[in-house]
């Protein structure tokens, strides 16, 4: 039962093959047995999960079931969950029991989903390896000496390891797509504004976007049906009707125009990844798609622009953690300034402090034009690249990451080397368009991800293409040997 997809589990619940309580117990047992080595959960909410499962079974018995009723998921620990610790992977919020639910959590609760717990993540979503978590790194189920990617590394590891069939994630520079690629699962970063950010702890507000992670495109479509929609509580939420993303999954790909950006197939990239991605593209051609080269000439500027915009927004967002109203407060402060400085100095980890300082510097007097304004101008150039390319083709495809999962500790001493791992994902957050990663093969026994990029609100098209690919291949069916 535990290697099934969400869609298959939904079928099992609907036909009465098993109950939500049985299903939930199975996952909780698996978490207890195996998360010692994966460290993919920060908090497991066993009692609450069983109570939700019982309620879901009753709701089904009463004939009132939603497609999601009784299905277990996990939430990245960036989403606020009422009455449950919401740590964001940080010592700063280790004692924070959220007094309210994020809209995404509320939506899943309303649909009758069962939350197994909160997954591990890089501290405040700042990282590409899950190693900046206060709770220690989650590990990659394909090789526990390797990172699962980040920042949604716990969600990806838990799904790949069979500890949950699906989980929420958030993506500011690749934090859904990169761990999905490294753990061999499917992940979708929706269009900016498609999924509410209310109650999703802010890192870089103009880039952050929540999204689904699961084994298959069909599963992520089921999740997006629950997650997407206008939310008056999020001032950047877009008021646009949400389609049923499962209805277009089976559309034909005949005539689909795929663009391959030449910048995504050159430079520092593992040749095995290029080979796997090219073979996936051939699969799409066999399904009736046509392929042409496109160009995203400003790709090399995405990481520089991101490492001004994201830290600048983070330095502002994280100024709320001051030891006054919630979160960590240092022992025996001598005065207010001492309380601020020590609470923040002790509550935040290294990477978070680095990014706060970069942002503070970039926004400080005399540097604003040279850094922040410049980065926002570059951001428009990057967006224009995507707009131009997507005027010629329907979907852009390429690798999600330049390398497969790397070893724990391999890049921690060199932050800039770590940043470069996001070279193919970060530009999309700057543009605000949707993107997916789907499993498309292996390199040295580690999963490889194919990235699909579409125009604003083209999630249906991405999910359709990814689903058709998964009907023709079985990479998404591979599971690590336990």
């Amino acid at each position: 039962m535990l290697d099934k997809t969400l869609a298959e589990l939904a079928q099992g619940l609907a036909t009465g093959e098993f109950s939500s309580v049985e299903l939930t117990r199975n996952y909780l047992d698996r978490i207890r047995a195996e998360d010692g080595s994966l460290n993919s959960f920060i908090t497991v909410t066993e009692e609450q999960a069983l109570a939700q499962a019982e309620a879901a079974d009753q709701r089904r018995a009463a004939g009132d079931a939603d497609p999601f009723t009784g299905l277990p998921i996990a939430h990245k620990d960036i989403f606020c969950t009422e009455g449950v610790r919401t740590s964001c992977g940080s010592r700063m919020l280790d004692n924070f029991i959220s007094p309210y639910n994020a809209t995404v959590v509320e939506n899943f609760n309303r649909a009758g989903a069962v939350s197994l717990g909160k997954t591990n993540m890089d501290e405040f979503a700042m990282g590409s390896s899950n190693e900046s978590s206060f709770y220690g790194p989650a590990r990659n189920p394909w090789n526990t000496e390797c990172v699962p990617g980040g920042s949604s590394g716990g969600s990806a590891a838990a799904i790949a390891g069979g500890l949950t069939p699906a989980a929420t994630g958030s993506d500011t520079g690749g934090s859904i797509r990169q761990p999905a690629a490294l753990c061999g699962i499917t992940g979708l970063k929706p269009t900016y504004g498609r999924v509410s950010r209310y109650g999703m702890i802010a890192y870089a507000s103009s880039l952050d976007q929540g999204g689904p992670m699961a084994h298959t495109a069909e599963d992520t479509a089921m999740m997006l049906n629950v997650m997407a929609g206008f939310d008056p509580k999020d001032s950047t939420s877009i008021d646009k009707a949400v389609p049923d993303y499962t209805l277009t999954l089976n559309d034909s790909l005949k005539g689909l125009k795929i663009g391959l950006p030449k910048e995504f197939f050159s430079g520092e990239i593992d040749p095995q990844i290029t080979a796997q991605v090219q073979s996936a593209i051939r699969e799409f051609e066999a399904l009736g798609a046509t392929v042409k080269e496109v160009s995203l000439p400003n790709t090399h500027l995405a990481i520089p622009a991101y490492y001004i915009i994201a830290p600048a927004e983070a330095s502002s967002n994280l100024s709320r953690f001051d030891g006054v109203r919630y979160g960590y407060r240092c022992e025996d402060p001598v005065d207010l300034e001492d309380m601020y400085k020590r609470s923040r100095g002790e509550g935040f980890g290294e990477e978070v402090k680095r990014r706060i300082m970069v942002g503070t510097y970039a926004l400080s007097e005399g540097f604003y034009d040279a850094y922040y304004k410049k980065a926002l101008q570059i951001r428009r150039l990057i967006q224009q690249d995507f707009v131009n390319a997507l005027s010629e083709v329907d979907i852009i495809m390429g690798p999600t990451t330049p390398h497969p999962a790397f070893k724990l500790g391999e890049k921690t001493s060199d932050p800039v080397a770590m940043y470069m791992e996001d070279i193919f994902t970060i530009s999309l957050n700057l543009a605000g368009m949707p993107g997916m990663s789907v499993p498309c093969g292996f390199a040295n026994g580690l999963p490889v991800g194919l990235q699909l990029i579409g125009n604003y609100f083209a999630e249906e098209r991405l999910l359709n293409a990814a689903h058709q690919f998964q009907q023709a291949t079985d990479w998404h069916r591979q599971r690590p040997v336990r």
Partner: protein, 95 residues
């Protein structure tokens, strides 16, 4: 752009972050490397390019000015480090 110890101390103060004396040098090196990375932007002529703050150039949506939330002070203060009579307690600010 390269940062030295004094720069790091100044930035840390602006950000209200306590940084241990022995860590300052490492922060200076790492932050300098990050700034070197972002300095690639300076080679690009962006003279006529409008800065982009929002992917769809959307403007901030405003809501009607009416009360929609009830008073949840006690509920929200359950997670506060120190509270007395509904007030957040901090170290003495004025003698």
């Amino acid at each position: 752009m390269s940062l030295d110890r004094t720069d790091v101390e100044k930035i840390a103060h602006l950000a209200r972050l306590n940084i241990a004396e022995q860590d300052i040098q490492e922060y200076a090196e790492n932050l300098s490397n990050i700034l070197k990375l972002v300095d690639q932007m300076q080679a690009v002529d962006t003279h006529d390019i409008a800065p982009m703050a929002h992917p769809m150039d959307a403007i901030q949506r405003l809501r009607v000015d009416e009360v929609t939330e009830g008073n949840q002070r006690d509920h929200l203060q359950t997670v506060a480090p120190a509270v007395e009579a509904g007030l957040f307690q901090v170290p003495k600010v004025i003698e």
